[in-house]
Amino acid sequence: MESTVLRTEHFGAGFDDNQVLKDINIVIPRNMITAIMGPSGCGKTTLIRCMNRMHELIPSANVTGRILLEEENVFDIDPIIVRRKIGMVFQRPNPFPTMSIYDNVAAGYNLNGIRISKSDKDSIVEESLRKAALWGEVKDSLHRKGTFLSGGQQQRLCIARALAMRPEILLLDEPTSALDPKSTSHIEELVVQLKNAVTIIQVTHNIPQAARISDFTAFIYLGELVEFGLTEKLFTVPKDKRTEEYLKGKFG
């Protein structure tokens, strides 16, 4: 088993004439947490949205280069398959408002028409909610609607929903930026535990958060991959001047 689960090769992306990402070459190690950080508008969200091919939902989107998932170019695979292998959790929690907690977690199966037995579904739901550290709080109210949960709980529900599909990679797009500090720390603890089961790529503009939880960090600025390496090293002895300035808070 390779230690790299995903890598990009001279990858670029943009909208019409606006080139958001240029020549990105990044290597994502398996079962690690890789933080992608940078100032607003640097292209970090665009990068992960290209990984699960959500970027192309916008008609003016264009891409160059390759993104290789287990050495297979994601742009050669059906996007629906890609999105089942690479899950995503969004900035604002978005559980499906018409579905119960149970159905939200099982949504990936229900909506795709994948038939599995009730007992299998029950075990997947429980397993996913346990992994998302939510099982204890909701096990007696699985059939209530997901929108009755608090913000932090809703986000963990969304994580459980993504995990239920057993993805190889979980993309987290600033998952705690809409949450209060207590929920934020719950989610951070959870993410650290999750890396055993799944590879994590987390976009964040919260520098201390990246320092706290990630193993590797990529710094993107103005669409370029400025620096990438072990978090410890990057934060203490950054190789690039721009990295150093960003860490010092000179621009955000």
């Binding site: 028409g113 994948i114 038939r115 599995i116 299998d120 346990r130 055993n196 089961a197």
Partner: protein, 327 residues
């Protein structure tokens, strides 16, 4: 396509479960029997949506063309004289539609004039003085009820209550006591179209920027003056659009008018005279029309009605869309 997705999904499941580390996963491909039901491809679905959308447009075109084609015999035979011919005598093959044009314009504009006297105050009432609260709810409910009453019921009530009332007035005035006629129709029509201008007017009046109003008030203007000099000028085009909408509705209104207008095919001589509108003559004579030409002339009247109401509605919508881009 379906087969390969299932294979892909199976390959995917196998890969996933063999990669699972750490927490005990429910593993093994055998547990997951996946049959993908309802697999409409995205392309097909988008085409279906597109067809549904375009079919509405096609429906509109079909309506217009059908009317034109069916009126063609009449247009060809009668030409433009149709519009200013004063005599409508199908038995003698004389088809002059002027009586109906006059009847339609008279009832619609009279109704519009009467309704504006009430719909603008209602709009001001709800938009300015009482935007919320019991009074507002009462008036709003009444307006909604009035808008929901079917036309034939208005006509029925008009026939039994308004007509005798108008007859009484006509006797007092020394005019021929038909009871039915243009005036009665206009009265009923006015009640029916008040809700349109009222609700549209209320919306635009409520949108008037409060900082402008407050500036005027702080300079010592009375509420009345603020409304007249600040709010109404601001809401002018919205109120006008609402009036357009009411007019469109009045022009096409059939049943209530048919029941109280008196069904006379002669050119009306006063507002107390019985008459017919374009819509009511169609309602009255369509099933009795003998001969292709007769029917074709009635369809032509319908075509005229369609064109006029479409133009008025489009003008109203253009004003509305200009308003929302400015807002």
């Amino acid at each position: 396509m379906m087969e390969s997705s299932v294979e892909e999904a199976e390959k995917l499941m196998a890969q996933r479960t063999s990669d699972t580390k750490g927490t005990n996963g429910v593993g093994g491909t055998s547990m997951f029997a996946h049959r993908e039901a309802f697999a409409v491809s995205e392309g097909t679905f988008r085409k279906i949506l597109y067809v549904a959308g375009i079919s509405v447009f096609i429906l509109f075109i079909a309506i217009f063309l059908s009317l034109v084609v069916a009126s063609y015999p009449s247009i060809k035979r009668l030409g433009i004289g149709f519009l200013y011919g004063k005599i409508w005598d199908p038995v003698a093959s004389e088809f002059g539609a002027l009586p109906f044009l006059v009847g339609t314009l008279a009832t619609s504009f009279l109704a519009l004039a009467i309704s504006v006297v009430f719909s603008v105050p209602i709009a001001i009432f709800l938009g300015e003085y009482y935007p919320e609260g019991t009074a507002a709810n009462v008036v709003k409910t009444v307006i909604e009820l009035l808008a929901g009453i079917p036309s034939v019921i208005y006509g029925f009530w008009g026939l039994f209550f308004l007509v005798p009332a108008v007859r009484w007035v006509e006797i007092k005035l020394g005019v021929a006591p038909y009871g039915v006629g243009i005036l009665t129709s206009s009265l009923i029509l006015a009640v029916m179209i008040v809700p349109y201008a009222a609700s549209l007017g209320r919306e635009v009046i409520a949108l008037a920027p409060s900082d402008l109003k407050e500036a005027a008030l702080s300079l010592g203007a009375t509420r009345f003056e603020v409304i007249c000099k600040v709010v109404l000028p601001y809401a002018r085009s919205g109120i006008f659009a609402g009036i357009m909408l009411s007019l469109g509705r009045a022009l096409g209104e059939t049943m209530a008018v048919t029941m109280v207008i008196g069904n006379s095919n002669f050119l009306p001589t006063s507002i107390f005279a019985p008459s017919n509108t374009m819509a009511s003559v169609i309602a009255n004579e369509f099933t009795e029309a003998t001969g292709a030409l007769y029917l074709s002339t009635l369809v032509q009247i319908g075509l005229l009605l369609f064109i006029v109401t479409t133009i008025i509605n489009v003008i109203g919508k253009i004003i509305m869309s200009k308003l929302s881009t400015e807002a």
